[in-house]
């Protein structure tokens, strides 16, 4: 399946690309498997596994682990610091 991935704020600085589209192997069905897959290509992606990293899936803030579907728009976010 194919997913669109964005890294926001500090993660964008750390992981480089602001936006990318990936074709994923069939065994990847949730967010944590995706993070492991990303880490195999770029060790810096291991930072995404930290429990404080939030996931926005198709414009909804979701809890991890989150299931994934073909065509998902995902955004990995550092902890929010508004207000």
């Amino acid at each position: 399946m194919q997913v669109h991935i964005r890294y926001l704020a500090a993660l964008r600085d750390r992981l480089g690309a602001g936006e990318t589209t990936l074709d994923l192997p069939g065994e990847i069905t949730d967010s944590e498997a995706l993070i492991a897959h990303l880490t195999s290509a770029d060790v810096a992606a291991a930072a995404l596994a930290a429990p404080e990293i939030r996931l926005i899936r198709n414009d909804r803030i979701v809890t991890r682990p989150s299931p994934l579907d073909d065509g998902d728009r995902l955004a990995f976010c550092p902890p929010f610091t508004g207000g």
Binding site: A9, A10, D59, I61, C77, P78, F80, T81, G82, G83
Partner: protein, 156 residues
């Protein structure tokens, strides 16, 4: 008519928002508000707020609805600025009105505490030597968790 939820790059006028909420509902005896503003810090020249358009507004709308439901508020608003701002400028305005003071005061605490950890905003500090992202504070996480626990207890 004031917009209840607003995320904007334009300066916020806290006083005007508060004026809009006072004296408007005859059943309201109490209006509480909170204004967050850019605090001077060593080297800070400007603060920049990034957000996730659309998702941020949805998160703020949900927090507002939770507060209205829990404290039976007559009115509640959250206005948050994004982009670059200078020391002393207003980052966020939260206000709530209700028949009695405890509801208004608690709702405002709830809204600002939860907003800090549940709405996708990120702060970046600009200094003359560059810029860095602001780290999340443990005390903010604790304050937000307090309200999550309170609500979980009531729902139980």
């Amino acid at each position: 008519m004031t917009t209840d939820i607003l995320v904007t790059p334009d300066p916020l006028d806290a006083a005007a928002l508060i004026a809009a909420l006072t004296g408007t509902h005859p059943d309201d005896g109490a209006m509480a508000s909170f204004v967050g503003q850019v605090r001077a810090e060593p080297g800070l020249e400007a603060l920049e707020l990034e957000h996730y358009p659309g998702v941020t507004e949805t998160a703020l709308t949900e927090l507002r609805e939770q507060a209205i439901s829990r404290w039976s508020l007559s009115q509640a608003l959250i206005h948050h600025r994004v982009g670059r701002m200078a020391i002393g400028e207003t980052i966020v305005v939260v206000a709530a009105s209700a028949p009695h003071r405890r509801a208004a005061l608690e709702a405002v605490s709830f809204l600002i505490d939860r907003l800090k950890t549940e709405a996708p905003f990120w702060k970046r500090v600009h200094t003359k030597d560059g810029s860095h992202w602001v780290a999340a504070r443990d005390s903010d996480t604790s304050a937000s968790q307090y309200w999550r626990d309170q609500i979980a207890q009531e729902d139980a």
